[in-house]
Amino acid sequence: MQLWLIPILPLAGFLINGLFGRRFSKGLVNAFAIGSVVLAFLWVLKTLFGLGGLTAAYTEHYFTWIQSGALSVGCDFSVDRLTAVMLLVVTGIGSLIHIYAIGYMAHEGGYYRFFAYLNLFMFFMLTLVLAANYLVLFVGWEGVGLCSYLLIGFYFDKKIATDAGNKAFIVNRIGDFGFSLAMFLIFRQFGSFDFAHVFAQAPAAPVGLLTLIGILLMFGACGKSAQIPLYVWLPDAMAGPTPVSALIHAATMVTAGVYMTARSWVIYTHAPIAMDVIAYIGIATAFVAATIGLAQNDIKKVFAYSTVSQLGYMFVGVGCGAFSAGIYHLMTHAFFKALLFLGAGAVIHSLSGEQDMRQMGGLRAKIPWTFGVMLCASLAIAGFPFTSGFFSKDAILLAADHRAPWLYWVGVFTAGMTAFYVFRAFFMTFFGKYRGKEHPHESPPVMLIPLVILAGLSLVGGYLFKIPDFLRPVFPAVEAPEAFGPMAVASAAGLLGIALAYLMYVYRPGIPDSIASGAKGLYTLVYNKYFVDEIYDAAVVKPLVGGSRVVLWKGFDAGLIDGTVNGIGARAKGIGGVLRLAQSGNTRSYATWIAFGGVLVIFGMAAMIVLGGLR
């Protein structure tokens, strides 16, 4: 079925634009960049139609990549229903965001570079999704990390952007360390990286080892999918262009961790402790990130923390054994969070770069289309009944309820907060009086059309694509029954959050300030994101930098290595200084030395003969 064409198309786009894009017109760059991704999308559709029901995985083997002793790793691609969902999300949303970026990046420098990186990202993401073994998946995993770094630091003349890029890369590296260790253990236990091989043997493996592998894999996922304790890079990653935030840091790359854990479900179902850890980390992240989102004023920061929080939900789904619910939320989240970011991008674009919501307000009448699509997205993320977020979030919360009621209640409370902070941002942006100075203008159609399509998907996508039903052949059955009670409570929490936001930011705009001054300590804590960055800085970064400076640089490098080399040099110089005196330039003194040496040799030999040593 030529699966390899799917990732190769964007790679070709990357190579053409990356090598020759500088000389191309914008139209030509667009043609290659968007054309390659749209073609990949069409090829995905054709492949999936051609494969029919896909009840079993379809695998293609291209070549043996690594052959060394017992290790044999093939470059294999595989498609099953889980991969199909991911392929459609990545190429579908990716195409829309590429088209949107034409309008958004129209006035930016480095146009071709942007699209080249974006295409490279698509290549690696599709490799990650299509991989039939852990090592090829890891190639994609690292590749998307690289593209994330490149695109966060796209405005490389801004220190804040390059710092954010470094932070994302380094924090991800910490997670990847766990992932690598997990892969070592997998190879040691199963002797292979192939999913089919590993999962067939996993049930027979010792539980302790599976738990360890599961937790290490999860640690890798925590880095990529921005979970506690490694979530700190994602909010900073918003320094990149907004289409990047939408594509990489909301819709696709950050969900790779969820995909990977769902892919490894066999390991997790046999390691209950690892699953518990995932669920706890997920719910903690969802809750903490939501509280931080309550007090942010940068519109992209709000959505960034919202992404962290929603990823936490997906982890709760996976951790409760409802893998399909996690993937369901992954898909609907891709719809509405991409839309939220792109809508926020449209707002920022219309205000010529303003991101502070305190400088917005009253934009409802000025950019009505953006207003409309943002309303759709906000309703979807708030879990408004029958929007896409409603279905997927309920699927997760039902599974959580089945697993442990307290997980459910924290989830419901977080859902209420989610609705509140999203609508807070919505009301601050579109309602009240305009507080800024720029003249807002509606975005061009090339940006609006993808927004409208995503808005449609956000509203009805959850109903159209019943992912849990579709994924039934892939994952074990979820026992959680459809229950009306918990569903109604969750929806009510969302509606309550919306109402509260309306009350505080439209009806009585004075309330937030009085709360902020009333609970000053709490507000400062939340506003400063619990000082997590500062704590990490003090606990990890500073000691590491200080230790490197004092021990490694001053102590080891400058002290020991330089000291040894310089010491040898100084001794040689000292000895040479003494010997130098013999080099008088006077021929007769040299001759004397030679004669002296000759006499010494003769005396030496005579002594040896006398002592009987030499015959």
């Binding site: 330039g585 006077n586 021929t587 007769r588 004669a595």
Partner: protein, 103 residues
């Protein structure tokens, strides 16, 4: 005829010539004189070679003596050329004045 003269005399003569050469090389300041002292040293060594070759009835000593002669001839050609050039440039043959290698 050689048979009447003891071997040690030849060696003694050689040692005397050698020492004279070394002393001349070290204590004389004129380059030409030093040059001649080198020739004296070489010939003293040659005499030793020949002496031992005669005593042991072996041709290797003769061979080496010829080698030394050839090298000495070449050395004389090059050496005299150098001395000429030095004299042209410095207008002196005092070895103690030719110490520009120092520092």
């Amino acid at each position: 005829m050689m048979g009447h003269v003891p071997l040690s005399w030849f060696l003694m003569l050689s040692a005397v010539l050698f020492s004279l050469g070394v002393a001349g090389f070290i204590f004389r300041r004129n380059i030409i004189t030093m040059f001649m002292s080198i020739e004296l040293i070489l010939n003293a060594v040659n005499l030793t070679f020949i002496t031992f070759a005669y005593q042991r009835q072996q041709v290797a000593g003769h061979l080496l003596a010829f080698f030394v002669m050839v090298v000495a001839a070449a050395e004389a050609a090059v050496g005299l050329a150098i001395i000429l050039t030095v004299f042209k440039n410095r207008e002196t043959l005092n070895i103690d004045d030719l110490d520009s290698m120092k520092n």
